[in-house]
């Protein structure tokens, strides 16, 4: 974490040499709702994958596209654009 670094740990010019090292950040903690996929209805169009602002939807096995809950912020864009109504948002507290 940033507050554990000392001045000696910093690279010259504060350059970050490890590309994409911010990807450890768990933005999944942000959400109050999460998406649930109904595979019966899913037509594998990948619109949810391409329209997720967080790239939190990933291709999964058998050609489906599913939310990576580590990152998913629960915005609901996938739910709103799914042409097959295969995604619905449920409250985060629900199991």
């Amino acid at each position: 974490m940033a507050d554990e670094l000392t001045w000696k740990d910093l690279e010259v010019g504060n350059i970050v040499t490890e590309a994409g090292n911010g990807s450890f950040r768990k933005t999944g903690d942000w959400r109050t709702e999460r998406p649930i996929l109904d595979k019966e209805k899913c037509i594998k169009c990948a619109l949810c994958w391409i329209y997720c602002p967080d790239a939190a939807i990933k291709p999964s096995e058998e050609g489906y596209y599913e939310s990576d809950l580590y990152y998913c912020k629960g915005c609901g864009i996938c739910t709103s654009i799914c042409p097959a109504g295969a995604i619905k948002m449920i409250a985060e507290e629900e199991k």
Partner: protein, 389 residues
């Protein structure tokens, strides 16, 4: 074979940039530095220098363009003065904190208002805190030498800081003087190719310029300060190497006839040469007086400076700038640098040479006499000046 030519100091700077085989030049006109980009444009147009000459649309963009070029590993140069330096002020800080070794010549010019295109040091004093290595030139030879040296030091992987080379506007920038130009082979021996270790390239994607949340900003500043102060070693080594190859050795503080001096006059920049004439006269008459000139301004040469003033009773500091409500900026830094020294000379400050007002030998005579008067009897003036009606 090195040759001795008559060169305007601005053109001497341009010549150093050419011999350093600079890659990117950001150019914007402002009096009195315009002769530098004009000469460089000629050189590029005639194939004497292979460089990307970018006629930017403002000084803020000039420095920003330099940052981009340095970030991909290009040797970069720009020049400015007065208002131009002020306009790029925020970018000047960034060049240092992002550790890009840009070299910039500044033809010191007074700051508005009122508008003045003529020389003084107020533009330089406004950038004291920006984290650039800064040197002041006295003559055309130094304009050439220090510009060349600037690339060597700034680009050193143990430094990676930008360097400002100050020339008094008009008083130095527009003066034609004899300059010894070295052989290109000597320059190539002195100045290695720029190898920037963090160049932006798709082969190794890096992020330059992440923002600093409170948890880390302080650490970045301490790291910058430590690295900046440590650059002194390379600054000195660069001057030693310069001397070994070109035969001219430079030091952070120049001492002129300071042996057993009771009184010392401190100057910076081109007026040093006028002041030296006054020192010569007074020495001939048996006065124990000498002159010191700060060549290295940042990082402040505490060690060398304190050593040179040991033994003097009085140090008279001549400033070419007023810091409103404070007095002479160099004067106040000098006093602070000597505060803990035992013994230390009495320090007085006199301001003059503003907005192109010349400093004659008579003016420097006045400075020395008035300086002694103030040391003896004190002063009830808000600010001590010379040559101001």
């Amino acid at each position: 074979m090195s040759r001795r030519v008559a060169l305007e100091a601005s053109h001497a700077v341009a010549e150093a940039v050419r011999m350093a085989d600079v890659d990117v030049i950001a150019a914007y006109p402002i009096t009195p530095q315009t002769h530098i980009p004009e000469r460089l444009a000629e050189m590029v147009a005639n194939g004497e220098l292979s460089a990307a000459y970018i006629p930017v649309e403002s000084e803020h963009s000039a420095m920003s363009t330099c940052l981009g070029a340095a970030a991909v590993g290009a040797r970069t140069f720009t020049a400015t003065a007065g208002q131009g330096l002020e306009l790029m002020h925020e970018v000047v800080y960034v060049a240092s904190s992002m550790r890009y070794p840009v070299v910039m010549a500044v033809c010191n010019r007074a700051l508005s208002a009122p508008l003045s295109v003529w020389g003084d040091h107020s533009d330089a004093m406004a950038v004291r805190d920006t984290g650039w290595i800064q040197v002041f030139c006295q003559n055309g030879q130094e304009a050439f030498d220090l510009t060349l040296w600037a690339f060597r030091v700034g680009e050193d992987t143990k430094v990676l800081f930008p360097v400002m080379v100050h020339l008094d506007g008009f008083t130095l920038s527009h003066v034609t003087e004899p300059v010894i130009l070295p052989e290109q082979s000597e320059v190539d021996r002195f100045l290695p190719r720029f190898q920037y270790p963090f160049a932006l390239n798709p082969n190794k994607p890096m992020t330059h310029g992440a923002f600093g949340p409170p948890e880390i900003y302080s650490e970045t500043k301490l790291a910058q300060e430590v690295a900046f102060s440590n650059s002194k070693k390379v600054i000195l080594r660069g001057w030693k190497e310069f001397g070994d190859i070109f035969g001219r050795y430079y030091h952070p503080v120049e001492e002129y006839k300071t042996e057993n001096a009771e009184t010392l006059l401190l100057t910076m920049g081109a007026f040093t040469e006028t002041a030296k004439i006054v020192i010569d006269d007074r020495r001939d008459k048996g006065e124990a007086i000498g002159l010191i000139s700060l060549r290295l301004w940042r990082p402040f040469p505490f060690e060398e400076f304190r050593r040179t003033v040991k033994g003097a009773q009085l140090l008279i500091v001549f400033d070419r700038c007023i810091s409103f409500g404070l007095g002479g900026p160099v004067f106040s830094e000098i006093r602070s640098a000597l505060y803990d020294e035992e013994p230390r000379p009495k320090v007085v400050g006199i301001i003059g040479g503003l907005g192109g007002r010349d400093m004659s030998e008579d003016n420097f005579d006045y400075v020395i006499n008035r300086g002694r008067e103030i040391a003896e009897k004190g002063s009830d003036r808000m600010v001590e000046t010379v040559g101001i009606r």
